[in-house]
Symmetry: C2
Subunit: 440 residues, 2 copies
C-alpha cells in the first residue's frame, strides 16, 4: 500500500522552471519553520506540534473515557468556523452522511453552530425527545476565545435544556474546549466542568489536531491516534528544501503562479461526496489565511484566491459547462479516493439500451472513468489542474491531507507576502454587530 497521498501536477501547465522560481522563495520560510519546530507551541507554527503532542492526546483520551461512562447517546458539538469545520470534515470523510440514521439508538451527533432559529429548533426538539426518553446527551462547547456570539447563544440554549432535564448533575454532561484563561475556562473551573485546553498559538483554522477536533472525533469512535500519525507523517516531507520533493511547496507555487496570471479562483473538485466538508474546511483555511487587505509591510494589496468546492460527479451536471467553456479564471485541484466499499451494477440486459458498457462493472470503476473523462477534457481544453488521490479513505490519509493543506496555505501566504495567521477584517462586521445588539 502507498504510504502517502499521491500528488500529480503534470497537467498544471506550469513549467518546472517557474515552480522552481516560486518555490525558491519559500526556502527561507521552510528553514525558519524547521528551526522553530523544536519550540513546540511557542511560535506561530504551533499547529505543527499538535500531531506529535501525545500528552495532549492522552488528556483528551482521559476525558473521552470519563464521559463514555455516562453513556451519552447524543453528542452536540457547539462551535463555529475553526471550532467545528475540521471536526465535520473528518467525521464526514470517515463516517459519511448517514451516521445518525445508521446508528440510531447508539450514538448521534449534532453540530450547533449558527443562530438559525429553524435549524436550532429542529435540533432542540430532537434532543429534548431524547432527554425525555431517558437518553443522556453530551455538550462539547468549543471556542478558543470563549466569547464567540453564536457559540455562547447555542451553549445557553442547550445548557438550559440540559439543566431542566438533568437538574442534579448537568455539569457532568458538559466538556468545554477553550484557551487557557478565557472567560469560559474560568467558568469551567468555577463550576467543576471538564475542560480541554487549546494551545494558545494554535489558530482556529489550524486546530483540527488539537482537542478542538480530537475530543469530538475520538468520542465518535474515530481513531484519533491514527489521524495524528497520518498528519505527522507528512510534515517532514512538506519541509524539504528540494521543492519538487515537497508537495505543499509545489502546490502553493502552482496556485500562486496561476493567481498571478489571472486565476483568482481555486476550485477543489472532490470526486467523493464525503469529502465535500473537507472542501468547506479548506475554504476557511484559504479564505482567512490568504484573503488579505494589507500585506506584511502594511501596504494595501487586497489579495486572495477565492476557494470554491465542487463535488463530482454531481457538479459535472451543474458547473462543468462553465468550467470547460467559461473564462480561464480557475486553477483546479481534483481529489479522488479509493472507496471503502465495492458495489456493482447488476447485469440487466434490458438496461443496455439506456447506457452502454456499464453492466456488471463496479460503481467505483464508473466513477474513475468519469473522472478520467473529466481530466481528459480539461487537458484537451488547456484548463490547468493538479490531482491528489487518497490510497484509502482512513484516518491516516485524511490526517495527511489536512496537514498537507495547512502547510500549502502557509506557503501560499508567504508567496502572497501576507500573514497567514491573522484575520483582521472579520472585526469589521463584528464591531457593527455589537452596535446593533447594544442599541436594540
Amino acid at each position: 500500500m502507498e504510504k502517502k497521498i499521491i500528488f500529480d501536477f503534470e497537467d498544471a501547465l506550469v513549467g518546472r522552471q517557474e515552480i522552481q522560481k516560486e518555490g525558491a522563495r519559500l526556502i527561507p520560510l521552510i528553514q525558519e519553520i524547521k528551526s522553530k519546530l523544536a519550540c513546540g507551541y511557542q511560535t506561530e507554527y504551533a499547529s505543527l506540534h499538535t500531531p506529535s503532542d501525545l500528552e495532549l492526546l492522552g488528556k483528551v483520551s482521559v476525558v473521552i473515557e470519563k464521559k463514555k461512562k455516562l453513556s451519552p447517546q447524543v453528542l452536540i458539538v457547539i462551535g463555529i468556523g475553526g471550532s467545528n469545520l475540521g471536526t465535520i470534515a473528518v467525521h464526514k470523510a470517515l463516517q459519511g452522511d448517514f451516521y445518525n440514521e445508521k446508528n440510531n439508538g447508539a450514538l448521534k451527533v449534532y453540530f450547533a453552530d449558527t443562530v438559525d432559529s429553524d435549524y436550532l429548533e429542529n435540533i432542540v426538539q430532537l434532543v429534548e425527545c431524547d432527554l425525555k426518553d431517558g437518553k443522556n446527551i453530551l455538550l462539547n462547547i468549543v471556542t478558543k476565545s470563549g466569547t464567540t456570539t453564536e457559540t455562547i447563544v447555542n451553549f445557553e440554549i442547550f445548557f438550559e435544556l440540559l439543566k431542566k432535564h438533568r437538574p442534579d448533575n448537568y455539569n457532568d454532561y458538559i466538556v468545554i474546549t477553550t484557551d487557557n484563561g478565557s472567560p469560559l475556562w474560568e467558568y469551567a473551573n468555577q463550576n467543576n466542568i471538564d475542560c480541554l485546553e487549546v494551545p494558545k498559538r494554535v489558530g482556529g483554522r489550524f486546530s483540527v489536531f488539537s482537542p478542538v477536533g480530537l475530543f469530538p472525533l475520538g468520542f465518535l469512535g474515530i481513531d484519533i491516534k491514527l489521524l495524528l500519525d497520518g498528519a505527522g507523517s507528512i510534515i517532514n516531507g512538506c519541509l524539504v528544501e528540494d521543492i519538487f520533493a515537497n508537495p505543499a511547496a509545489v502546490s502553493a507555487s502552482i496556485i500562486f503562479y496561476h493567481y498571478k496570471k489571472g486565476a483568482n479562483i481555486h476550485d477543489t473538485f472532490v470526486f467523493s461526496k464525503y469529502l465535500r466538508n473537507f472542501g468547506q474546511w479548506y475554504r476557511q483555511l484559504v479564505g482567512e489565511s490568504v484573503g488579505k487587505k494589507f500585506d506584511k509591510a502594511g501596504d494595501l494589496v487586497e489579495v486572495g484566491v477565492t476557494p470554491t468546492v465542487s463535488v463530482g460527479t454531481v457538479d459535472l451536471h451543474s458547473v462543468a459547462q462553465l468550467y470547460l467553456g467559461g473564462p480561464q479564471d480557475k486553477f483546479t485541484t481534483f481529489v479522488t479516493v479509493k472507496p471503502k466499499s465495492q458495489i456493482y451494477v447488476p447485469n440487466i440486459d434490458a438496461f443496455n439500451m439506456f447506457v452502454q458498457n456499464v453492466q456488471g462493472k463496479s460503481v467505483s470503476f464508473i466513477m474513475d472513468s468519469i473522472f478520467g473523462g473529466v481530466t481528459a477534457a480539461y487537458k484537451n481544453d488547456g484548463r490547468p489542474f493538479a490531482s491528489v488521490s487518497l490510497p484509502v479513505v482512513n484516518e491516516y490519509f485524511v490526517g495527511q491531507l489536512l496537514q498537507w493543506k495547512m502547510l500549502e496555505i502557509i506557503y501560499l501566504g508567504e508567496l502572497l507576502n501576507v500573514n497567514p495567521f491573522d484575520q483582521p477584517q472579520v472585526e469589521l462586521y463584528k464591531k457593527e454587530t455589537r452596535k446593533l445588539l447594544k442599541e436594540n
Copy 2:
C-alpha cells in the same frame, strides 16, 4: 403580509443610469418572451408555462395519490443535476436537514445521484433494512433524456434490490419521470410503470416546476399548488418593460455591470442554513446558462460568472476575511428569511461575561443583527451587494424566489449575448468517458 419577496439594490454601487442602460437592452427579449407566453411548451421559454399548467399538476397529483395507497415509507429520488437539485432546494428550504430523523418510521427520503460507492452503499444498506422490515419503498427515476449514466446505474442497483424483496409487484413501486419518447419512456410503457412526462423544451435546470420537482415534493407533503402559485405570481412582474419595476431585469443588469468591471464571481450569501441547497440549485442555473465558450454569433468568447454559495453566519467564520479584505472580484446577493419558529436565548446572568446584549433576546434578532453588521461592513468598505428577503419561508415565496432567479439568468444570458438554454461543453467530458468505459 407582503405578497412578494423584497429585492433591495441600493447598495449595489451601480447608478440608475447604468441599470437603465443595460436594462434597455433586455426590452426586445422581454417583448419576445411575452409574445411567446401564449405558446405554452412550444418555445424555448417553455419553463415559464410550468407554473400555470394545472393539467400537468393534476396528472402528478393522481400519481401521488395512487402511490400513497401503497404506503411507502421511503422515497428514493434517483436523478442528478437538473433532475434533483431543484427538488432538494425546495425540500430543504421547507423541510430542513432533519426530515428523516424527525419522521423516522413515517416517511424518509434519499437522493441517489452520483456513482459514489460509499454513499450508495450506505443508502442501499438502510433501504435493504427497511425492505426486510416490511416497509415499502418508492423509486422515482428522473432523467429527461433517459440515458444519464449515473441515473441508470443507480436505477439498476435499486431496481435489483426492489425486485429481490418485492418479486411479485416491483414495478408498482416505481415512477419514471422523463421526456415523452425517451428510451426510459418506452421502457415504462412496455412494463406498465407509471410515467410522468417532462415537457420536451423545459430544460433540466429550468424544470423544478414540472413533474421533475412536483412529484417528489408533493409526495413529501409539500403544497405543490402553492409552490406553483408563488412561481406564477412573479412572472408578470419580471416581464415588465419598466426596468426598475422588474427585479429580474435589475438583478441581471447589476450582475452584468459588475462582471464587466471585473467581478467574475457572484456570491449568493444566504442567511439561513436551509437555503444552502437553493444556492446549489442556482449554481447550476448560472453555470450552465451563462458559462459559455461561444456567443450567439458563434464567436469564441469564454464568458461566465462563477457562482459561489455562502451560508451565514457560518461563513462569516470562514470566508468573510477574504470577502472584506480580498480582491474586488465579487458581487454579492444576500438572501434572508423570516424563520418559521422563534427560539429565545435564556436569561442566564452568569453568561453575560461571555457575550453582552444577547440575554433574553430571540435567536432571529441576533441573526438579524449579525446580518446588519455584515451589510454595514460591506457598505463601509465599498463592497457591492443586493439583498433579497423572504417574508415567510413557505411554498409561495420559495416558488417566487426560484422563478425570479430563472428569469434573471435568462436576462443575464442576453446581456452576455449567449444562449442560456444549451450546455455544449458538457459533451466534452462525456465523450472521453464513453471511450474509457468502452475500452475497459
